[in-house]
Amino acid sequence: MTIQATHETLKAKFPDAIQDAHAPYTGLIVDRDHLVAVATALRDELGFRYLSSVTGVDYPAATDGLPPRFEAVYHFYQSEGGPLVLHVHADRENPTVPSLTPLFPSADFQEREAWDLMGIRFEGHPDLRRILLWEGYAGHPLQKGFQEVYYEADTKPFDSRWPEGAPVRAESRVPLGRNLRYPADFSMQGWCPTDDPWGYIAHDQVADLKDTAHPTDRVVLNMGPHHPSTHGVLRLLVTLEGETIKKLEPVVGFLHRCHDKIGERNTWLGNMPYTDRLDYVCSMSNNLGYAVAVEKLLDVKVPERAEYIRVIMAEFTRFINHIIDIGFTGNDLGIYFTAMLMGMEERELIVDLFERVSGSRMMCNYMRFGGVAHDMTADDVAYARQLAFERLPQAIDKVDQFFTNNEVFKQRSINVGVLPAETAIAYGCTGPLLRASGVPYDIRRAEPYSIYDSFDFDVVTRQNGDVYDRYMVRLEEMRQSVRILQQALNRLPDGPIMDGKPKGLIKVPAGEAYGRIEAPKGELGFYLVSEGGNNPYRYHVRSPSFVNLGALEEMCKGYLIADTVIILASVDITLGEVDR
């Protein structure tokens, strides 16, 4: 069913509750009270079973004939094609929206994030607590009136940074920050939030273990934030019976920097280097995702050579990500770094290529709206060909040889962390995690971006959804990446790499866009709202790691602590992207 037809069906079904969004906005405006009914119909009757993104936008002034409001924005997908966008308006004084978490568990973390940062309350959410900021934080930073510490102006460039033509660091001027606000009765020493100090209440309510066959004491274990295998600063709050996991809750936000707010202050192009820092293993993919999203608003034509270069870089990035993840899985299994360093060796060669084309190894900042920043020279292409045709296929075979039939690895990973397909879809999992559960959903096929529709490649799936299958999917996806690389390098055309002249300050036409790509870890989406200025009005990142992490408890329950670490490794998260 096309999106347009779905709109009509919905409007026929709920005549009072739905109206079209005004141009330049897309999708439907749904009445708050009917949201749950509409979402149920979408899920059960119309086949939109995947809720990709939930976020909020603040409109403090009346616009487009609408009163001042908060908007909750939902993006639904079916198995193919573009999004169905729902806007739900909430009163600005007392913003409440019904929660979709009971219908779509994938909304759980995202609604908590929208409450945390935007202040929209989701009624009926089972556990509406702050997620990225700390429990005692005063205010909701994404509201338009919120001014952060060291606040200078609403948007960049900040004139105050150049008083007499010489740059000044804002931090040196305001040592404590004029806008630093603390909650009432706050003291730096011995502060303790009152209601649920460290998130333990839910864990105290885990069913009494005394009546089981082998009664043991319950242990609540904090894995992290300082723990070797949480891949960054992630805190896992685990309730154990013996070593078996009864309840697990990821506590995130230790690396939070309010990427969204920074994005609103920056100019459109100024955001590009910030996206590098989201998933710091795959900066090229993040660049591509952001460029794809902004180009939806800009309506530029990317030259063919630039598209090819983008695909080449994105697929090299996928290769890096997967081989590093397999290496880290080995690390978590206890192979004393040997597997990880095996992956690092290949990664070094690929980042050498990134350094050649972009000047930086990890933080590439390479894509531009309408093209890429630098061309690939003949030498670079020759180097890339050498990698794609000779080195990398051998590297995959090496990994295959060491892991696939390793008895200990199989013992540890088969039937561990099983995620059934239905659960995976409900939790909004994407990427290898979803495909290992047997759902052949790949955005490169479902909603092709760039020039992916012109390449031959397979969408890799496995059926069991355990750790071993996720490894197998990653391994096979590396092969497919190499296949795409070989085709792209063979067909790489000559021509310009930018649409028009490169510009620094870009004005983007008013409108909203949700651009998404198949990043190595899953669906990386950028929700952008422009009011026609130099800066985004709203800039939201839907990161795959963050949403995939929501399904961790489902995967870990009933397994042992030892399994948790490899399940976490198989989910493949980067905390830079989770915490944003």
Partner: protein
């Protein structure tokens, strides 16, 4: 050349007697000196072993490892380990709040002590080149190495840390259960050699080492020992990716250093015990002509075993606690038991006048037979399980 070590000790003894000291005093001083030397051997070995381990792991991982590029660190970076040792000694000793002070402080001492004490009965050469030739040598080793469990338990429990406690839980399960197959395979050796004295066991392997006569106990002993010294794939007590550093989590400075040292010393000790029990200890070509060669042979064998340990340590992933225990109780223990029963009968049936080689051949054949039976049983069990699984799949389909 003669027996250099014995000669040196006789020379020192002569010197001491020459000063007019009475006989008991001289023998006391000689005991102290030899105890010092024997305790010193493993510690010195470890300093080089740590370097060797770093070098070997680096080479297996496509790195260079310690070297002198940058700051000077001696040929091949060998000085690095000494710098590490000095750093360890000078670091602040942090004691977290809420620990149970007495066990917390005793634990590292106990573990280090046990790691050293084992070396007293390892024969480093023929005759008297041994700390003390106890007639219950191997029993003494087994007894002391089980006591190491108390150290781990004390450390884990007293640290006031959940990771350490979980590690202590695991240690009880793991160390106790793997002691059984270890002991059972040692019993076979004791039975065949007819003595518990380490020197006698080495002597019994004069013509043929027990690795050839008793390969099955050797393999069982090796596996169980890997578990006992907490090496991969049984590295559960300080499983870095799960339990941070296990029972050592709350230790710092030289207390941590003692655990670190003890771990390496134990690993070498396993090599030494294995060499003595199964590889013929100091036995080797030309030992009769030059007894000093015996010392060379045993150290060569220990080095070989340590290399094997390193290789396993660096390349294998770790199993899960339930899998490890299953493997032990459902496979290793029954196998070791069956082995003990069968070999005790077969050994008795062999003519006492039979040559060493005949005896070894018969024992080897028995071992192979037991291994084949065990293999068949495991394969049958696996096939049955697979059939069951396939039947279930068909039901679902």
């Amino acid at each position: 050349m003669g027996d250099a070590i014995v000669n040196v000790s006789a020379w020192i003894e002569g010197l001491l007697l020459g000063t007019g000291l009475s006989e008991p005093w001289v023998s006391f001083i000689m005991t102290v000196i030899s105890a010092f030397v024997i305790a010193f051997i493993p510690v010195v070995i470890v300093i080089f072993l740590v370097w060797g381990y770093r070098k070997a792991s680096a080479r297996m991982q496509g790195r260079l490892g310690p070297n002198s590029s940058g700051t000077w660190a001696g040929p091949g970076g060998i000085v690095q380990t000494f710098a590490d040792a000095i750093k360890m000694l000078t670091k602040e000793d942090i004691r977290p709040a809420g620990v149970d002070v007495i066990p917390y402080n005793i634990a590292p001492i106990l573990i280090f002590f046990i790691a050293l004490v084992v070396w007293a009965v390892i024969p480093f050469g023929p005759g008297t080149v041994i700390g003390v030739d106890l007639n219950i040598g191997i029993f003494y080793i087994m007894a002391f190495s089980s006591a190491a469990l108390f150290g781990v338990l004390m450390a884990g429990w007293s640290s006031n840390n959940k990771y350490a406690t979980v590690s202590a839980f695991r240690s009880v399960a793991l160390l106790i259960s793997y002691e059984i197959p270890q002991l059972l395979s040692v019993l076979v050796v004791v039975m065949v050699a007819g003595s518990m004295s380490m020197q006698d066991i080495v002597g019994a392997q004069r013509s043929v080492m027990y690795l050839i006569a008793l390969p099955l106990p050797a393999v069982i002993f090796l596996i169980a020992s890997l578990a006992e010294v907490n090496a991969r794939p049984f590295e559960l007590l300080e499983a870095e990716s799960e339990l941070v550093a296990g029972y050592q989590t709350e230790y710092s400075g030289m207390k941590f250093g003692m655990y670190y040292l003890a771990e390496f010393i134990n690993s070498v000790a396993v090599g030494a015990i294995f060499s003595t029990l199964f590889l013929g200890g100091w036995q080797g070509p030309f030992v009769d002509a030059a007894p000093i060669l015996g010392t060379v042979w045993i150290f060569a064998k220990i080095t070989l075993m340590t290399m094997l340990w390193m290789f396993i340590q660096i390349t294998l992933p770790r199993l899960r606690i339930d899998q490890i225990l299953n493997f032990n109780w459902k496979f290793l223990v029954p196998l070791a038991l069956a082995n003990l029963c069968v070999i005790s009968i077969v050994n008795k049936l062999i003519n006492a006048q039979a040559s060493d080689w005949t005896r070894a051949g018969i024992l080897l054949l028995t071992n192979i037979a037991i291994a084949l039976v065990a293999w068949t049983l495991v394969a049958l069990g696996g096939r049955q399980k697979r059939r069951q699984y396939e039947a279930e799949l068909e039901v679902v389909a």
